[in-house]
């Protein structure tokens, strides 16, 4: 069961940067209507950089662990860099084989982040197809 690895379960049970921010510059929440998973990202932004981040939500191991990992990836990063994060970057960071049935779980956090940052519609990885 290659997706329930120790570090994934660790992120799930002890999520990093979990919670909310006092006065976030951006706060965005979205869910996946098919499974009911919900994720919220709160961001503090200074000089075009993400200086602080919190996520909260509820859902399965994959969606919550991915969001937790994502917070570590973006903290202190330039917004332009964050904007360039792709579906592949997220899956690579997650480091487990995510089949078609769980791909949306894995990408929910990135979707919410991008949607909150610059209004991405749809799912990460589908942008090219939509153009």
């Amino acid at each position: 069961m290659d997706i329930y690895l120790e570090y994934i379960l660790d992120h799930y049970k002890n999520p990093r940067n979990y919670g909310t921010l006092e006065n976030p510059d951006i706060s965005h929440e979205e869910g996946n209507p098919y499974c009911g998973d919900v994720i919220r990202f709160d961001l503090k932004i200074e000089d075009n950089k993400i200086v602080d981040v919190r996520f909260s939500g509820k859902g399965c191991t994959i969606s919550q662990a991915a969001a937790s990992i994502l917070t570590e990836m973006i903290k202190g990063k330039d917004l332009d860099e964050v904007k360039k994060l792709t579906k592949e970057d997220m899956l690579e960071a997650l480091g487990i084989p995510v089949g078609p049935t769980r791909i949306k779980c894995a990408l929910l956090g990135l979707k919410v982040l991008k949607s909150g940052l610059y209004g991405l519609k749809g799912w990460p990885g589908e942008e090219e197809e939509e153009e």
Binding site: M1, I3, Y4, L9, Y34, C35, G36, D37, K58, G59, C60, T61, I62, T101, R102, C105
Partner: protein, 411 residues
């Protein structure tokens, strides 16, 4: 002998899908409430139609057209017999149960309801027997009343009865809950509806495949079902309606097949059931559904019901052994089918489903298209094992074993 190991083994041989492995394990298919598997006979009936007598129906005098028309009409006759309808004209083929329920809501509800009327339904409905009535209520000014469930997870019959009054025009209720597995007393509910002059619309999507259905004995006015939940192809379902009601109703969709005569400014309608089957129908689907009905009748719905009850009782017992499991719905197999929704401690239903999938076991996780019920039961979602007569006790044992493993992973 019904229900023995040899009996189930022989049945499983009829289903080609059980030859395949999933993630290196023999497939255990426990998602039958979503859709069932198909036996050879159904697959072959569809295949044979396309190979040997493919043609459109009701138009054309050539041999293939005549054969296709006869087979498609025969399919209506078989479904009629299967659910004990008085006449085959009372069987309208649709895409699925959802479309059949929409047909009633649009073609009957929209024309008959007015402000002051009410529609009575239940909190355990699938969205397809709730949302169409929400819209009809909104469009006509009627009100929607929703009967609750009991603590045990059965329909609260006292509450339902108290909602039915002289202004009730429709009682829309499912025969079997797709989340709780409970079987509702349809004959009794039909009587209450008829006492006040209301019609009863039954969602038979989960009932028809698992328990003997007798629309005449139950005295229901409409009953909807989906072929794909009873061994048939996808894209075919049916609506049963009492002949006089169907006669009085306006059509649902307009165009070819459903008309008798057309002038530039008006048209008259074809006879039943074609009045409600506009356009070229799903001919292959109808023929496949007939093969499915043949298969079910050959085994016997009483036998299917009895075997599934035994399996359900066994599954309830075994699942209860799993520490921290919360099972929804009644505790006994009495008036219940093999739909077993549960949550395993704090483990998300998706994770439960994924771990089972690694072992070749297919189950559903999520809200099961019954969000109001989920909310009422105070849960976000659930995992769901749903059985059919080709499942075995060994498969249940296997699932229980994997659930124990899931607990270890998340310990």
């Amino acid at each position: 002998m019904i229900g023995t190991d040899e009996w189930v083994k022989a049945i499983r041989k009829d289903f080609p899908i059980f030859e395949r492995k999933v993630n290196g394990h023999p497939l255990v298919y426990f998602d039958n409430a979503a859709t069932t598997q198909r036996p050879h006979s159904v697959i072959e009936a569809v295949d044979q139609f396309y190979r040997t007598y493919n043609a459109n129906v009701h138009r054309g005098v050539h041999t293939l057209a005549a054969e296709a028309t006869e087979a498609y009409e025969m399919a209506h006759k078989k479904v009629a017999k299967f659910i004990h309808a008085k006449r085959w004209r009372e069987i309208v083929f649709t895409r699925n149960a959802t479309e059949a329920l929409n047909l009633v809501a649009y073609a009957w509800g929209l024309h008959r309801l007015k402000p002051g009327d009410n529609i009575v339904t239940t909190i355990m409905e699938h969205h397809s027997n709730l949302v169409p009535w929400q819209k009809v209520a909104k469009w006509t000014g009627a009100t929607l009343r929703v009967a609750d469930v009991t603590e045990e997870g059965r329909l609260n019959l006292d509450h339902l009865r108290s909602l039915i009054d002289e202004h009730t025009k429709v009682v829309a209720v499912t025969s079997v809950s797709n989340t709780l597995g409970v079987v509702n007393p349809i004959p009794e509910i039909a009587r209450w509806a008829h006492e006040v002059g209301a019609i009863v619309v039954v969602d038979g999507a989960q009932g028809v495949p698992h328990i003997p259905t007798d629309v005449q004995a139950w005295d229901v006015d409409f009953l909807a079902a989906s072929g794909h939940k009873m061994l048939g192809p996808t894209g075919i379902g049916f609506l049963y309606g009492k002949e006089d009601l169907l006669e009085e109703m306006e059509p649902f969709l307009f165009g070819g097949e459903m008309i008798r005569e057309v002038w530039v400014d008006r048209a008259t309608w074809n006879e039943l059931p074609w009045k409600f089957e506009a356009g070229t129908p799903n001919i292959a689907g109808g023929i496949g559904l007939a093969a499915a009905v043949d298969y079910l009748m050959q085994i016997g719905m009483e036998n299917i019901e009895a075997y599934e009850r035994e399996l359900t009782a066994y599954a309830l017992e075994r699942l209860k052994e799993v520490p921290g499991i919360v099972l929804y719905g009644p505790d006994s197999a009495e008036d219940r089918v093999g739909v077993l929704s549960f949550n395993l401690g704090e483990i998300h239903p998706h994770d439960v489903a994924s771990i089972l999938d690694y072992h070749g076991i297919a189950i559903r996780s999520g809200h099961h298209c019954a969000q109001p019920l989920m909310r009422r039961l105070g849960m976000e979602g659930a995992a769901r094992i749903s059985l059919y007569f080709y499942n075995t006790k060994e498969e249940i044992d296997l699932a229980v074993e994997v659930l124990h493993k899931a607990l270890e992973i998340f310990a």
